[in-house]
């Protein structure tokens, strides 16, 4: 099976979307394309598990390697391991849900779906790349669609947010670029400079280079995953974006950063990762704590979820910074879980907003009586966010904490304790918001006549919900998928 299919399907979908005539055609094309992609991703997941069971022990499967720029030694090199498969599954799910949720977009429908599909192309390409240049290409590909999506279809201070997001992400990728070029010129594989991930992992760059390049790469990818202090684009961007774009942003785009931190920064520069570990942990702890307290102050539902995303992505960084196998597995699980959960949450918020025309917590109440389905979704997403056992958030955060506790240093322990404590704060803001919005008497007369979810919205929510439950109730299929990958990264770290 060819891995290029994962990039080709969205690309072809985009082409078809361009030539569609009516809005209906556009929607269905995008939907069919995304479902086909989900099918491919699922097939790949099962095929991958079968291959692994059959004893296939190469680090990356489905590898393809084509020469792109020969004189620069740049190749289109792709391949996946368990971690990438998990991210691809997440992306495929969120894209289908995102397309379904956007069914009502009437203003410039074609452009909207075109940009959505382009964005997903960037994400898929990023996750499957094994060449740093290819990876960077796809990373930047995903930036500009976000600007237009927020700018054109957004709400609130959309121009400001779109510009802020685009510039900060561009800044992130500029940092990544500096890091990549430094690594490139200091690499030496058979007398040549290279961008190849596998070759670079086998021939580590020297200690001095690692120390210089690591901050650039980690901070650069950190911008994408809203690492403190580069998180400021996230709340504004998320809350101004249209529903599907919020889902993509928080569900996929922030994961690009986490994946990059892990796959590029930590995997290729493991010695520097150990050297800088304490800074990463410190920043993660601040993000978790600051994010959760900042969320407490928010009154807008989207801002609540956006700030809580900062806090939750802190767990990802924390897991990566701890540099133990369990913690890294937990970090990836948290990426998947947070991606699903936050997409569901944003979907629920978006659907509620479409009906009530407000996102202000104080102006809503008793929605469970009028829109039971949406309210239930909202509550479940919230409970997943606060880490209720049985849902994915619990499994992921638990793994992160377990892995984090394996680090004996005092500051690491302290950070872990802080992280655990933040869950209490999470509970406060989630329960407060859902208590006000969902329970109690109906505060607004107009809200009595709103209707519950349509088929497309139900389908989107159920899709994400199933995945959340699948991870929450039986997390082992996911950990089994991820463990070989994190073991590889650990081998890299321990082999000094």
């Amino acid at each position: 099976m060819s891995l290029t299919l994962l990039v080709l399907i969205p690309f072809l979908t985009a082409l078809f979307v361009i030539f569609c005539r009516t809005n209906e055609q556009v929607k269905w094309t995008a939907f069919i394309g995304s479902v086909a992609q989900l099918g491919t991703a699922l097939f790949m997941f099962f095929d991958y598990t079968m291959l692994r069971k059959a004893g296939q022990n190469l680090q990356f499967l489905y590898e393809e390697n084509h020469v792109w720029f020969k004189s620069m030694n740049i190749n289109y090199h792709i391949g996946v391991d368990g971690i990438a498969i998990a991210m691809i599954l997440l992306t495929a799910l969120v894209v289908v849900a995102g397309v379904l949720v956007s069914w009502k977009v009437e203003h410039h429908t074609k452009e909207f779906f075109l940009l959505l599909v382009l964005l997903s192309t960037g994400a898929y390409g990023f996750f499957i790349s094994l060449d740093l240049f290819t990876m960077f290409f796809f990373l930047e590909l995903a930036v500009i669609p976000k600007f237009l999506l927020i700018g054109i279809w957004g709400s609130g201070r959309k121009e400001y947010s779109a510009m802020k997001l685009a510039l900060m992400l561009m800044g992130g990728s500029a940092l990544v670029l500096i890091g990549l070029i430094i690594v490139y010129f200091n690499s030496n594989v058979n007398g040549q400079h290279t961008y190849d991930l596998i070759a670079l992992s086998q021939n580590k760059v020297d200690w001095q280079t690692q120390l210089i390049a690591f901050p650039f790469l980690f901070a650069g990818f950190g911008v994408f995953t809203a690492m403190f202090p580069f998180h400021t684009w996230a709340p504004d961007g998320h809350s101004s974006a249209p529903t599907a774009a919020s889902m993509f942003l928080a569900g996929i785009s922030m994961k690009l950063g986490g994946y990059g931190c892990l796959r590029v920064a930590v995997y290729l520069l493991p010695d520097a990762a150990q050297h800088y570990s304490w800074i990463i942990i410190l920043l993660a702890a601040i993000a978790i704590f600051y994010g959760s307290f900042a969320t407490m102050m928010q009154k807008d539902l989207k801002y609540i979820n956006a700030y809580s995303s900062v806090s939750h992505c802190g767990f990802v960084i924390l897991g990566i910074g701890m540099l133990t196998k369990t913690a890294i597995t937990g970090a990836v699980m948290q990426m998947v879980s947070h991606g699903l959960m936050t997409a569901l949450f944003f979907a629920a918020i978006g659907m509620i907003y479409e009906r009530t025309h407000t996102r202000d917590v104080a102006k809503m109440g008793g929605l469970l009586k009028v829109i039971p389905f949406l309210s239930t979704i909202f509550i479940i997403a919230g409970l997943c966010s606060l880490g209720l056992p049985g849902l994915s958030g619990f499994a992921a955060e638990m793994t992160v904490f377990q892995g984090a506790w394996q680090r004996p240093e005092t500051y690491a322990r302290l950070a872990t304790v802080l992280g655990c404590a933040s869950i209490v704060v999470t509970a406060v803001y989630i329960l407060r918001a859902s208590g006000k919005v969902i329970m109690g008497p109906i505060t607004d007369e107009h809200h009595k006549h709103i209707t519950d979810a349509k088929w497309n919205e139900r389908l989107a929510a159920i899709l994400l919900l199933v995945a959340i439950l699948a991870i929450g109730t039986a997390p082992f299929w996911l950990t089994d998928l991820l463990n070989p990958g994190s073991q590889e990264i650990m081998n890299q770290i321990t082999a000094r």
Partner: protein, 479 residues
């Protein structure tokens, strides 16, 4: 007068012939039938462009350089490639000026001046002697100043012409002084003799070199020698601005690279640092000034200053790093496509509505969907956003800039990309996001204009993905 002579001088000979043809056509075309004349001119230019690729000198005999007139004129495969690129850009510029010329007078003069300038550029590229170098530089720049004055009824146009001629005269004078110093100390004006007689560390020679550097920096509008650029860009008719931005800048970047690499490589240690600092200042200043502009042409002027800074990064790899010059030529090809796509739209809109402020473009997307996408693609390519070719071009330039470990330069250039993205996105925002009560009406696009845009957009989208273009260019520098 053998076959080789004609093959080597072919680009210049054809251009000279064309200039005479246009002169005669001016006399023959008494009725001023613009339409017929323009058709005729465009066909000739296309033929000229095609002719560049056929019947080239036979390099297979191990001869990598052809020398004529006692080393006054020389040509190499690389130079022929560069001339072909310029010829191609000339065709596109002629296409995009169709509407404007069709209404105006003195059409054949436009072509004569443009081609004279192009002829000067070709001789400049091929010159192997400082005398030739200076003469052809004058031939390249003075007709362009006359072209800036072509919109006779707009007061800004003569102003632009005056600024252009003054600054280029000033630059020429400085450069001539530099050449004098070099001549005085080495006793030679032929490049090949100068190279042999240069002594690293000789103060007079370094001074002479600095003056020549400054003269070229004027033409490339590197900061702080950029002050003429914005006014000239704004005042000139848009097709002339396009010619200035693409033809003149392109030639001088090639000349800059080849002069510094072939004539003054012994000073490399010195000019490397000089170049690095001027790149840093140029990129930063160009970008920060562009942020403040409200006029689209001025914005493009300042952005082109910054782009020149990026282009020069290709030279920072030093004479041994072949990917550096490759990246310069590669980016120049991309720059031709990106900026001409942009200028095609600006020219069209300015021609129909007389509007060229960014705020005039608010809500442009409502009525002109395709044109808006052309602008978006062109701007993203200029900003270096994938999947456009600009991304690849910039990436390789940045790589070349860091090849010798100049990470400060790399950092400055990368961080400047954020600034440049900001002002490019301002235009995109005005077009796609902002609403306007009175957006620009639907603009009917002529065939030739549409062709230009289609070629440019196709180029922008294809060149990057196909590594072949890069490898093709790289083949010229590898041996």
């Amino acid at each position: 007068m053998d076959k080789m002579f004609f093959q080597m001088m072919k680009p210049e000979l054809i251009l000279t012939g064309l200039i005479f043809i246009f002169l005669i056509a001016k006399i023959a075309n008494r009725a001023e039938d613009n339409k017929k004349f323009l058709l005729f001119a465009n066909i000739l230019l296309i033929l000229n462009c095609v002719a560049g690729f056929v019947w080239t000198p036979d390099w297979s005999k191990g001869l990598m350089q052809g020398v004529l007139f006692d080393n006054m004129y020389h040509t190499t495969p690389t130079l022929i490639l560069e001339k072909n690129i310029l010829n191609f850009a000339l065709v596109l510029i002629s296409f995009l000026s169709y509407d404007w010329l069709n209404r105006g007078k003195n059409t054949s003069e436009f072509y004569m001046l443009l081609l004279s300038s192009q002829l000067g550029m070709f001789f400049l590229l091929s010159s192997g002697n400082f005398l030739m170098f200076f003469l052809s530089m004058e031939l390249a720049t003075i007709p362009l100043a006359a072209l800036s004055n072509f919109d006779l009824d707009r007061p800004k146009s003569p102003e632009a012409a005056f600024k252009s001629i003054m600054s280029s005269a000033f630059a020429s004078a400085i450069m001539l002084f530099g050449i004098t110093l070099i001549y005085g100390t080495t006793g030679a004006i032929a490049f090949s003799d100068v190279i042999n007689n240069l002594m690293p560390g000789s103060p007079l020679q370094i001074m002479g070199f600095v003056f020549i550097f400054v003269g070229l920096a004027f033409k490339l509008s590197l900061v702080p020698f950029h002050l003429w650029t914005a006014d000239v860009y704004e005042g000139s008719p848009v097709p002339v601005t396009a010619a200035l931005a693409v033809l003149s800048k392109g030639t001088f970047i090639f000349v800059f690279a080849s002069t510094l690499f072939t004539v003054f490589p012994v000073f490399f240690g010195g000019w490397e640092r000089m170049l690095m600092i001027s790149i840093m200042i140029t990129i930063s200043f160009g970008n920060f000034m562009a942020v403040r502009q409200n006029n689209l042409k001025r914005l493009l002027a300042f952005s082109s200053i910054a782009q020149m800074g990026y282009l020069l990064m290709g030279m920072m790899g030093g004479p041994d790093y072949a990917s550096g010059p490759t990246a310069i030529v590669y980016f120049m090809v991309i720059y031709v496509f990106s900026s001409l796509a942009m200028f095609a739209v600006v020219a069209l809109v300015f021609d129909r509505t007389g509007k060229d402020d960014i705020s005039d473009y608010k809500g442009f997307y409502q009525n002109n969907k395709l044109l808006s996408w052309v602008v978006a693609i062109a701007l993203f390519s200029l900003a270096g956003i994938p999947p456009t070719a600009g991304f690849f071009g910039k990436y390789f330039l940045l790589t070349a800039g860091a090849a010798r470990g100049d990470y400060y330069l790399l950092a400055v250039a990368c961080l400047n990309m954020i600034v440049s993205l900001y002002y490019y996105l301002r235009v995109v925002k005005a077009i796609f996001i902002d609403k306007s009560e009175t957006p620009i009406e639907k603009i009917k696009v002529g065939t030739l204009n549409a062709t230009t845009m289609a070629i440019c957009c196709a180029g922008i989208l294809i060149i990057g993905f196909s590594g072949d273009v890069f490898e093709y260019i790289s083949g010229f520098f590898m041996n």
